[in-house]
């Protein structure tokens, strides 16, 4: 039981790290640009597909990962320049429609280029296999590597946001946009940088998760809405909120799926507990979101309504 708990906790943290990488960019885009971007999940999917393509072409995980990053910059900038840039001073409804259109286009484009069957990405040799944790418990090295890589990126973001000039502008922009333009900053450039940064993070998440997932067209969407929940819980515009929100959502989602039925079995008979558990588990994160919003409508670290 303890072993299972530790195992699932680690799985939760690993999912949380992936969610954080996606949510970090999204929360900045929402907070600083006030743009609803439904197409953010597309970037995560693009990262995974680029990874699969480059891995197949180069035969190397590391070369592929190295190539994904400039690819992500290109995808992010392209999207910003062609579409997102024109949405900044539009109503939220316009933003919803345009980015919804982008999601439809992106999913279909992926199907045309890569087909509908899922792709897989081989794991690098040094990260394959498992390490013993405690007692008989083993944990895959690759998942630990994801956690470490994600934490490193989170640390880097923390430094960027709190100790650099651009980070200062980001923080200012998330709380008071008018102030940033009053400082004489080129808002257009700042927005492009923020969006591209978010795109790179989301693509990176897609790329590093590719070896343990099957890469398919639906992957962006399931993650997109979980990411929304993360951003809403953490508070729009807050990187810290995105981090805590991501880990919270992922751990609740992972543990709920495994331990919900077990706990329910103590009050219900086995089959009822099984059904109730399967029903409740995927709803848990939304119930969590509702409870947090009920107490704090702007999320845990959100300033604006």
């Amino acid at each position: 039981m303890t072993n299972l708990l530790v195992l699932q906790l680690l799985n939760g943290v690993q999912l949380g790290i992936i969610l954080f990488l996606i949510a970090a960019g999204l929360t900045l885009v929402f907070g600083i640009m006030d743009v609803v971007n439904l197409a953010h999940g597309v970037l995560y999917m693009a990262g995974a597909y680029l990874m699969a393509t480059f891995a197949a072409a180069t035969g190397s995980f590391w070369w592929a990962l190295l190539l994904v990053l400039p690819g992500a910059v290109v995808v992010g900038l392209l999207l910003e320049v062609v579409v997102i840039r024109r949405l900044y001073d539009r109503s939220h409804l316009d933003q919803v429609l345009a980015t919804f259109g982008l999601v439809m286009m992106a999913n279909e484009t992926v199907k045309i280029i890569w087909g509908t069957s899922p792709l897989s990405v081989p794991m690098p040799d040094i990260f394959s296999g498992s390490v013993p944790l405690m007692g008989p418990l083993q944990y895959p090295v690759y998942r630990i590597a994801i956690i470490v890589a994600g934490l490193a990126v989170a640390g880097g973001l923390y430094l960027l946001v709190n100790h650099t000039r651009i980070g200062m502008l980001l923080r200012a922009g998330a709380t008071n946009r008018a102030m940033v333009s009053a400082l004489g900053v080129d808002i257009g450039k700042l927005f492009a940088i923020v969006f591209t940064l978010g795109a790179v993070l989301a693509c990176f998440a897609g790329a590093i998760v590719a070896p343990i997932l099957s890469v398919d067209t639906g992957m962006g969407e399931s993650v997109l809405i979980l990411t929304f929940v993360v951003v809403v819980i953490g508070g729009i515009g807050s990187i810290k909120g995105a981090f805590l929100g991501a880990v919270l959502v992922a751990v609740v989602d992972t543990l709920g799926g495994v331990f919900g039925p077990i706990l329910l079995r103590s009050v219900l008979d086995a089959s009822a507990a099984g059904q109730a558990g399967r029903t409740l588990a995927p709803m848990l994160v939304y119930i969590l979101m509702a409870a947090i919003l009920f107490a704090k409508p702007t999320g845990l670290f959100g300033g604006r309504g």
């Binding site: 609803v36 429609l97 919804f100 259109g101 929940v229 979101m289 309504g305």
Partner: protein, 331 residues
């Protein structure tokens, strides 16, 4: 004080309103003659497609009630469509086949869900509201995916259509079509009355200027929540009809894509007009059918049309309508 006696009795925008009703009546008349035409053309299958369009028209109109008149961009309305479809599946599996009872069940569940999730969502605005309604919609989606007794992800085929007072008249596609049309017309009339009522004026007032409404004594929350619940209930009726049309229910009816398509329908026809939502449902679904016949990669074209529409109307779709005085963008 002599002015008092000559106070205008009707709003000057009444002509635009009357125009919209006229267009709606023309649409209804066209719908009414469609089945005989379809039969004459030897294409009775058209009636079934048209039934689907009418059901979506009801849902789009219900969404317009809050989106167009209340400026609430709900991205979770497919959930209510889903409640309607599953009300048919679940109640009929317990032997309750009556259409009106199934509608009652759909409305009760939808009202409860809308009341709770709406109360939480409406504490927020803008981006938050959109994302939270989307998240709650997804929650409902996952709930039905987990219902293994009703097929889970794969859905559930209905053994028969609903009955009306014990009669199985709806088994006839033509009858189902006209019953659906009847509901569309009745619900249009109801929505039209609501928009022009005291309540509707408050709702529209909150859209136009929330702070001003508070300053004359209206607390916006309760009016917006009421409208949200009404809209949800009407959408669930569309779901009941849709389940009968498809004779099949599945979580796909409530995916977030479906919520997005409902918004697209409202926008295609012009928001805040009711009539527009009906026309928009027709246009959007026919466009889907047409593009689908051209290529099975139709979502690419559909998405492209959406993006181009937003980018190349000078101030967006809402801007387009703003100039006609039907909508004011709020940021």
């Amino acid at each position: 004080m002599s002015d008092v006696t000559t106070a205008p009795r009707a709003a000057p925008r009444a002509p635009a309103m009357a125009m919209r009703v006229k267009v709606a009546l023309i649409l209804f008349a066209l719908f009414a003659v469609l089945p005989p035409v379809a039969v004459a053309l030897g294409d009775p299958f058209m009636v079934l497609i048209a039934t689907r369009i009418l059901a979506y028209a009801i849902a789009a109109m219900a969404l317009d009630l809050i989106l167009g008149f209340g400026a609430m961009v709900s991205f979770g309305h497919a959930a209510y469509l889903g409640f309607g479809t599953y009300a048919v599946a679940i109640l009929s599996s317990y032997g309750v086949n009556d259409l009106l009872l199934q509608m009652l069940g759909a409305v009760v569940v939808s009202a409860a869900f809308a009341l709770v999730t709406g109360a939480i969502s409406l504490r927020t605005r803008g981006v938050y509201f959109i994302m939270i309604t989307l998240a709650f919609g997804q929650m409902a989606f996952f709930f039905f995916i987990s219902l293994s007794a009703y097929g889970g992800d794969d859905g559930y085929g209905l053994s028969s259509r609903s009955t009306i007072f014990g009669s199985d008249v709806l088994e006839n596609d033509m009858t189902l079509y006209y019953v659906t049309l009847g509901f569309l017309i009745a619900l249009f009339a109801a929505c039209h009355r609501i928009v022009g009522s005291r309540f509707g004026r408050v709702l529209t007032g909150i859209r136009e200027n929330r702070e001003r409404m508070e300053a004359v004594g209206f607390p916006p929350f309760r009016y917006q929540l009421t409208a949200f619940v009404i809209s949800a209930c009407i959408t669930s009726l569309a779901g009941v009809l849709l389940a009968n049309q498809a004779e099949f229910v599945s979580p796909a009816f409530m995916s977030w894509h479906r919520s997005g398509e409902l918004i697209v329908m409202v926008v295609f026809g012009g928001i805040g007009t009711l009539t527009g939502a009906i026309g928009g449902a027709v246009v959007a679904l026919l466009l889907e059918e047409w593009l689908g016949a051209l290529t099975h990669h139709w979502p690419l074209l559909f998405g492209l049309i959406l993006v181009l529409m937003v980018l190349f109307s000078p101030r967006g779709i809402t801007g387009l309508l703003e100039r006609t005085g039907l909508w004011r963008a709020r940021k």
